[in-house]
Amino acid sequence: MSDLPPIALPPDTRSPDASLAQRLLRDPLGLVSLVFLGVVVLAAVFAPLLTSHDPGVAVLQDVLGDPGDGHLLGGDSAGRDVFARLLYGSRFSLLGAALALAVAVLVGGVSGLVAGYFGKWFDTLASGAAAVLMALPGMVVLLAARSVIGSSAWWAMAIFGILLSASVFRLVRQTVQSVRNELYVDAARVAGLSDLRIIFRHVLRVVRAPIIIQAGFIASVAIAIQAGLEFLGLGDMSIPTWGSMLNDGFSRIYQQPLLILWPSLTIALVCLALTLVANALRDALESTSSRRRAVTLAVPVDTVDETSPAAGTAPTADDDRTVLRVEGLRVGYAMPDGSTKEIVHGIDLDVRRGEVVGLIGESGSGKTQSAFAVMKLLPEGGGILGGRVLWKGRDLARLSERDMTRIRGKEIAYVPQEPMSNLDPSFTIGTQLVEPMRIHLGLNRAQARTRAIELLGRVGIQNPERVFRSHPHQVSGGMAQRVLIAGAISCEPELLIADEPTTALDVTVQADILDLLRDLQDDFDMGVLLVTHNFGVVADLCDRVAVMREGHIVERGSTRDIFVAHEHPYTTQLFDAILTPENTRHPYQAPYLPTAPRTEASTS
């Protein structure tokens, strides 16, 4: 929607942590997980206060004892208290995971920072090392390491930390590289800040959140693999750990199945909680997008308000050349809190055959949303809230998606704003042109191919056969827009909806594209709804124009009338926003008349 390139601002520096924590606390699963982890940590710290039993003392009569009777969870195969072992075991499991985490974050974080910020030979070397580390399954490396260093859990976790550091390295390096190229970092550099100050003030702040999220996943994996080693009987059997309890329980699974339940449950819940906290953090960080997703289907998309003022009035065919008549169209989006925000407040609009109607307004005025609503192609969460979209006697607002599919492309076609992102990068241009013609016109592959190449020639492409075979990344922006126009007119639609068709193009190409649109409109006798923010384009192409602002049409009329005598102050503002002979000091430009020379088109 925005017509300006987005301006890169430093991330909100007020108190990102505070707001992140607040958002995290609103996620019930994340909160429960966080509380659970807190309880586990407390249980580990205060283990001696929670049980009077020694985890290492074996009592013969307690062997495989049932829960209760002085032993909360019974006794293990050697007669040791299971509850005590679980509590004391959490000390080693948590400390082991903390060690792996510390090594991973320290090694991966520092090397990622250096590689991402300074690059050069260190980047090459470290990236290679990370690739090697990531190529090996951790368990195999740990087993190999164990045969050298013995059964020390600490060594194993330190080595595992190094293996995991590769993932931290990649994350940090990538984040730092993207931050380094931000404008505000350039600005800081120009302002004379040293690299060290820039790293501390700007880079670390951005890297922190992804590292915290990654830490949750790393801790979870570390606990899992540590317990896995002990489960295999390869850990340090002299200390109580969750994994050695698994090992003990598995060997007695027929005699005392409960024995394996406790450590399994503990490990599973701790791993799950760590992952859920990390996930909740990530959601909180991307809060707007993820929340928006969740409510998408709750929107009353396509449920049309029958009581809207326009409903009930018969489609008055005052002019038999009218193809599209929009009455009281209201468009809205679902908001994260469940409410609906209306952005187009009941607009009326009609387009006749062979006529170009301009819909003009600034970014956010609702002009593009209105155009999407006519084709029922609103983005996720958007829908028509009321009004009618009358197309040859049928109300598109109430039409099923299936029937809409038959109308789109065949009767109403669309030319987008940004040519490069509107072609599917994975398929050749030819494939994308042929597909709709085979559906709508019933052509076979060869016929569709011939027609596609003809169309490419018709829209002014020099070497249509080569372009037909090309992939989108192999053609220029101007050529891509010609391809998109060829695609739009391929099934001879009666209405063409063009959304800022020249905004993303080079100034020199804009005029050619407008010429082409005018030619095609004449040839095919199409109606055109042209969405634009540029009065130059309106003057060049449009018969009639509607001025839109904040979801309302504030002024409408023939292009000549609007140019000569507009009434609404907003229209005046739009006129003032473009270059005029008075404010350019170049006296050669013609005044604003519908027949103004095309140079107007480039003054955006």
Binding site: A131, L136, P137, S147, I225, L276, L297, L377, S426, F427
Partner: protein, 313 residues
């Protein structure tokens, strides 16, 4: 494409050299007296010295690595210190078992995860939330705990499968399938969970692209847009995830094979670690590295085929 392949192959070989050299140095640099620990405390000094000489433990590390590498290139990875069998034969008999477990798991995961991920991304709403939550849980819980649950339920309580043991497919296809069902299931659940999440987000990313709206504006059916265009564009990220999951499965197979007494590379690496059979461990590391590198090259080729931009460069 040919230069691209050649470059990837060269990188793979370089990587293999680095990994084998590192593994060799670390494994043989051990402070313990290998000959002594092999022969036991009662052996005479002379016998230990003789054994050390036989094993070539007295030579400088570098020349020993050169010897090993020279042999490895010709398919000789040395002999096991314990069984005396050539390492390559020991590995060979077990490689197929592990590969069949891991490849079957990967294929099942790819199909199920893609189905779930696409379903969640297209339907959204409650379907999406259920898939997300289940896959988060499935990925978080270690696979050996999933295996424990499966053994308890299907082997011990229901008695549908034997809790452990492995039948070779040459002996009986049906029994072989039964013997790997639980191990494959245990490996697959976590893999599906991790992959489905990534497929879901790749699909959602692809669904949000501008060209999706343009394709729909041409009158293409929802099905063609989703299954032809969006899925094709989401396939690249999906493949990358699958490659990572494959490496994860090779690691996961270690514990799963040991639990179910499946005679694969994983259980071999556990037993040779316990015995300190360094030539075998070295062989396992090298073979696993080769598998991973080959899989990555295959994935790279698939990427090139999927993504026209990569094909050109």
């Amino acid at each position: 494409m040919v230069t691209f392949l050649a470059r990837r192959l060269l990188t793979g070989i370089a990587m293999l050299l680095v990994i084998s050299a590192l593994a060799f140095v670390l494994l043989y640099l051990t402070g313990t007296d290998i000959a002594r620990s092999l022969l036991g405390d009662n052996a005479s000094e002379a016998a230990v010295a003789l054994r050390a000489q036989q094993l070539g433990l007295d030579d400088p590390l570098l020349s020993r690595y050169a010897d090993w590498l020279g042999g490895a290139v010709q398919g000789d990875l040395g002999t096991s210190w314990f069984s005396g069998a050539p390492v390559i034969d020991v590995l060979g008999s077990r490689l197929g078992v592990t590969l069949s477990l891991v490849v079957i798991s990967t294929l099942i995961s790819a199909v199920v995860a893609t189905t779930l991920g696409v379903w969640a991304a297209v339907r959204r709403g409650w379907v999406d939330r259920v898939v997300q939550f289940v896959s988060l849980g499935g990925a978080a819980v270690p696979n050996y705990l999933i295996a424990l649950g499966l053994v308890t339920l299907f082997a011990i309580n229901l008695g549908w499968f034997a809790p452990t043991g492995y039948t070779r497919p040459e002996d009986s296809i049906g029994k072989w399938a039964a013997s790997i069902t639980l191990p494959v299931l245990a490996l697959t659940i976590g893999c599906i969970a991790g992959t489905a999440q990534q497929v879901r987000s790749a699909m959602i990313d692809a669904l949000r692209q501008d060209y999706v709206r343009t394709l729909r504006s041409r009158g293409l059916s929802q099905r063609s847009v989703i299954y032809k265009h969006v899925l094709r564009n989401a396939a690249g990220p999906g493949l990358s995830v699958l490659a990572l999951q494959f490496v994860g499965l090779l690691g996961g197979a270690v514990i799963i094979e040991q639990m179910f007494a499946v005679p694969g590379l994983g259980s071999l690496s556990v037993s040779s670690t316990v015995q300190g059979d360094i030539p075998v461990i070295m062989g396992v590391v090298v073979v696993v590295a080769i598998i991973v590198i080959v899989v990555n090259v295959i994935i790279d080729i698939a990427h090139g085929w999927l993504n026209p931009k990569a094909r050109v460069s």
